[in-house]
């Protein structure tokens, strides 16, 4: 019997292949995700190990907030005097201090060299000192020495055509400065690429000067005297440290650094895996449907086996075994396809602005195990229902012409069960969305399971919906396609459950893209709305990408220009208040002339009256912490200072978001407390409003700040929306995988249906239907199925968006009609694409053979 199952599989290669495709793609996504993130993690690990290779212990700054790992907060610098005291310790052989910061390199077109959001790293070296702590190696030239010299990384040099002896523009705290390139460097060891990161190397005094870190260091590397263990060294160093510094062994520091980056990479991993699982879920639908049709077509064969003495159990296991083999083969193919997909995903991320370092591809055992187990498991689950149906084939079907598979025992309760499932699913989702006090894990679990159950429920209901809906959706086909269209509509209705499950696979992808697009539309409209309400300036000054903070020096470059009335910057930083990490912003006294908010407590004068200790907050923050005018707020900064603030104002931000963080203080105080104050944005008001001449004048004034961008209100809105659009596109691309899989589902169904209707098609051809009409008939059927997918998916997506929107207090619910129409058109095109192969097969059928077919 096992032999029969395997031989049967071998005899139906095309079907097996069609079934496998959906699993191959889903598994490839999972394996590709692991390969990509493992590779990036290994790259970071290699970088950090290289950095701390010869370091027995390292002292770094420690942020007073955000826990041990600093969590992305730039830690405070160390006092340089610490170095001397460390050198005096008995266990210390060598100790060197360095500065690390960010420096943007500027290319010959006065554009900041940056790719993929990767960091623009800056380090100091001591050209005459001990290079043992230096992770970089020179590829040519020498180490920089003196206030006008720089070394840059080899990759940037070759890509942007810089050579030793050239000058290059560098942006640090202030306006553009020029340096002469005296050396080219790269990371040592096995690090092949740093992604889009750039390197700028200065000698220590220069670095301290340009980063405003005179008398400060960011790290001290220590080598122990022989016989002193790193742990011993650490315990010797520890008593010397101030509260804002920490010491770790080199190995521990490398590990900690890798752990910090892994946190981000794990999020990326889960994010991508989620798409892999969605793809597999869709794949499961496709497999279940394809196997189901195959079973229906093999009825006589199965019945014959039963007359020859095969038990139901044997029939069941033969179907499961077939699925198992398909699952294994598809998963293995998917696993290796994942290696290629990892490259593609990386290219995708680079294209979307996330460029990450790489070393040799990492293909972990875990990747192999997870990909195979998940792929096979999903296939087996999908095979259960078809296998059970196969056992329902009665032996008598061996002698009956055109016997039909008996309906499932529960078939007539189908719609009722479906409604119950949908209700339970929505209930689960509502619990996940609205019940307070659930852990994140539980919340995500109930949302995930709820969403899956919604899809399953709708798919169960679909057979009931198909006939009436297909009649409507097929109407254009009957008008456009004549007889072919009429037959297509009839065909799509005659086996509603088959059409329904084919359409359901497509529904899943369309639901998700609809959900995403509706939510995004909500953000965009309210965001634009808020900006229009808030923005009473003429221009906004941001960084080129619109979200990374810029040097406050660019702001001063605009002050005092003729016609410029107000330039007001909004600083941004991190802090801790009421035990939570919060965003802190700071404003200049004249901010209310450029940003218009409604004051519930205090007034438009409040920002001007903040002084050293005043603060204002948004309505929601005041409410959740029971604050009113006069309440004290204790704000802890990364350096550990606690600011005792007094609440002077409460404002009511528009729905689309607040321009300020949780707590806002005066720029004057902020600049005193925060080491490297930067503007999130600055607003400019001119006497003549927005004119070409003013714009040109502002741009000229910013020539020394290539990172700064001056924009009008609508340009500002566009720049800010670009981030959302980019994320939206990324989500669309990733979701398209599950849509592609569902298209294979349509192809499968049509190919199998054409096969099943061979005789019928032969008859149609015999009575005068042309090849073209046959092909059109298949095409219309595909389009009707695709439209059914859209008719199910888009409303479900809108309902889910409504629910999610309500749960997260979403500012507005906007249905993006244009986008949804685009989805429908895309579904039609997708249907046409899916029909190409089956339509060709149907058109090519030989009339005579088709009629003789038995």
């Amino acid at each position: 019997m096992i032999g029969v199952a395997l031989r049967g599989l071998a005899g139906r290669k095309l079907r097996a292949l069609l079934t496998a495709v959906s699993i191959v793609l889903g598994v490839a996504m999972i394996s590709g995700t692991y390969v990509l993130t493992d590779t990036i993690k290994a790259a970071f690990g290699t970088v950090f190990n290289e950095v701390y290779k010869n370091t027995d212990a390292v002292i770094t700054g420690k942020s007073a907030i955000g826990g041990r790992a600093n969590n992305g907060i730039t830690p405070p610098s160390l006092p340089e005097s610490l170095l001397g005291r460390v050198r005096g310790l008995p266990g210390v052989a060598v100790a060197e201090g360095g500065v690390a910061d960010e420096a943007k390199l500027v290319d010959r077109n006065n554009k900041v060299i940056s790719s993929g959001g990767a960091p623009n790293l800056a380090f100091s070296v001591d050209p005459k000192g001990d290079q043992r702590f230096n992770p970089l190696v020179k590829t040519s030239g020498r180490w920089p020495s003196g206030s006008s010299e720089i070394a840059i990384d080899t990759k940037t040099a070759s890509e942007k055509h810089f050579a030793i002896g050239d000058t290059i523009g560098v942006l640090t705290r202030g306006p553009l400065k020029e340096f002469r390139i005296v050396g080219l460097v790269k990371f040592g060891g096995r690090v092949s690429s740093l992604g889009g990161a750039t390197l700028a190397i200065f000698d220590l005094p220069t670095a301290q000067r340009i980063f405003h870190k005179q008398g400060k260091l960011d790290s001290i590397g220590i080598a122990a005297r022989s016989g002193v263990s790193p742990a011993e060294l650490v315990s010797q160093v520890r008593p010397l440290l101030p509260a804002t510094a920490q010491v770790r062994t080199g190995a521990a520091e490398a590990k900690q650094a890798a752990k910090d980056t892994n946190g981000f990479l794990n999020i990326l991993e889960y994010f991508l895996l989620a798409f892999g699982f969605v793809a597999l879920f869709v794949g499961a639908f496709v497999i279940a449907n394809t196997l189901g049709i195959t079973i229906a077509q093999r009825m006589r064969e199965l019945a014959t086996l039963r007359t020859l003495g095969a038990t139901r159990r044997q029939v069941y296991w033969s179907v499961v075994l077939e699925a198992f083999v398909i699952g294994v083969i598809a998963s293995v193919i998917g696993l290796f396809l994942g290696l290629a997909l990892a490259k593609l995903l990386n290219a995708l991320f680079v294209a979307f602005g996330i460029d990450l370092p790489q070393v040799g591809t990492v293909f972990a055992t875990r990747t192999v195990i997870v990909a195979l187990v998940v792929g096979v498991f999903v296939t087996l689950i999908a095979a259960i229902r078809p296998a059970i149906r196969a056992t329902r084939v009665e032996p008598i079907a061996a002698v009956r012409e055109g016997a039909l598979l008996p309906p499932s025992r529960f078939a007539r309760f189908g719609p009722y069960i479906a409604v119950v499932v949908i209700g339970a699913a929505l209930g689960l989702m509502l619990i996940g969305l609205f019940v307070s006090g659930l852990s994140t894990k539980l919340r995500l679990l109930s949302l995930g399971v709820g969403a899956l159950a919604v899809f399953i429920g709708v798919a169960m209901l679909a057979p009931t919906l198909v006939p009436p809906v297909a009649r409507v959706l097929g109407w254009p086909a009957t008008r456009l396609g004549g007889a072919a269209g009429m037959l297509a509509r009839g065909n799509s209705i005659r086996n509603p459950s088959r059409t329904a499950s084919t359409a359901s696979a497509l529904m899943i992808g369309l639901t998700l893209v609809t959900l995403v697009s509706v939510l995004a539309a909500g953000i965009k409209t309210t965001f634009a709305d808020s900006v229009n309400k808030l923005f009473s300036a003429d221009y906004a000054l941001t960084s080129q990408n619109g979200f990374t903070p810029t040097s406050i020096a660019s702001e001063s470059a605009l002050r005092g220009l003729p016609g410029v009335e107000v330039v007001s910057g909004v600083r941004a930083g991190e802090g801790e208040a009421f035990g939570h990490r919060i965003g802190v912003t700071a404003v200049e006294p004249d901010v209310t002339t450029v940003v218009d908010v409604k004051w519930l407590a205090g007034s438009v004068q409040t920002p001007a009256q903040l002084g050293q200790n005043g603060a204002f907050v948004a309505k929601a923050y005041a409410k959740s912490h029971n604050l009113e005018a006069g309440s004290p707020i204790y704000l802890k900064t990364p350096t550990g200072t606690t600011l005792e603030l007094k609440l002077l104002g409460i404002f009511d931000p528009p729905k689309g978001g607040s321009p300020f963080g949780e707590v806002t203080i005066s720029a004057k105080r902020f600049d005193r407390e925060y080491a490297n104050p930067q503007n999130l944005f600055a607003f400019v008001k001119t006497s003549s409003g927005v004119t070409d001449a003013t714009t040109a004048q502002l741009k000229r004034a910013l020539a020394r700040f290539p990172d700064a961008k001056i924009q009008t209100r609508s340009q500002f809105i566009n720049t800010q929306e670009r981030g959302i659009n980019l994320l939206l596109k990324l989500l669309y691309v990733l979701l398209s995988l599950s849509i592609v899989i569902s298209l294979f589902g349509i192809v499968n169904t049509l190919v199998l249906t054409v096969f099943e209707r061979t005789r019928e098609i032969g008859m149609l051809r015999a009575v005068g239907m042309t090849r073209r009409q046959v092909r059109n008939m298949i095409r219309h059927e595909a389009i009707i199925t695709a439209l059914l997918g859209a008719a199910l998916g888009i409303p479900v997506g809108i309902v889910l968006a409504l629910m999610v929107g309500k749960a997260i207090n979403y500012p507005a619910f906007t249905i993006p009609w244009t986008t949804l129409i685009v989805f429908v058109v895309a579904a039609i095109i997708a249907g046409l694409v899916a029909a190409i192969f089956p339509a060709r097969r149907a058109g090519r059928l030989n009339v005579l053979q088709a009629l003789q077919y038995e």
Partner: protein, 254 residues
Amino acid sequence: MAVIEEGAPAPAQQGVVVQANDVTRRYGEGETAVDALRGISLDVDAGQLVAVMGPSGSGKSTLMHILAGLDKPTSGNVTIAGEEITTLPDAKLTRLRRRHIGFVFQFFNLLPMLTAEENIVLPLSIASEKAEPRWLEELLHDTGLTDRRKHRPSELSGGQQQRVAIARALVSRPTILFADEPTGNLDSKTGGEILDLLRHSVTTYGQTTVMVTHEARAAAIADRILFLADGLIVQELRSTTAAHVLEVMSSLGS
């Protein structure tokens, strides 16, 4: 076709191997109900070839389906090898099929991906048994398939395919072989060869066989011929000629 006496097994069973008692079968309900069988009783003795004849709609196929346990009677009962099958649950019925029943179908019902030999031993494979090599060789020889054993059904003629099907039905030496219009899908020359083969298996191996047919020529090879009309056995003949069968048929008004 060569007749080999030696090695031919004795009939598997003695006496009555299939028995039907007052079997009726009604399809549908109420006004549109159709009575396909209206009370049929019969015994099939071991080693006999029984032909069931009748015009279409006479109920001959229904009778065979019920005798073979493929369909359930509305009333009455059927025993095979002494076992009452009409009330048997599926699992037991399946076991009974393995041991006692062989089938030959009008449309051959071979598995297209298996070779002739694999198709033949399929009932044994399903029961996790091995074919006795001598018995298999003899079957292949008798059915003239010795040099076709590695061919797939698509590479065989219709007659050859039906011979594979007959060998498949014989391989497990069933108590009873049911043949459902075995020549219905073949030309007359090939059909004749198939009838010879069936007769040979009854004579040589003592294979008890029930054959449903509407061809007089087919019925003529039988030891016993039952004529069905409107769901009842209307006449019975012992071994006779095709001409006589035709006479009876026309007298029954078909």
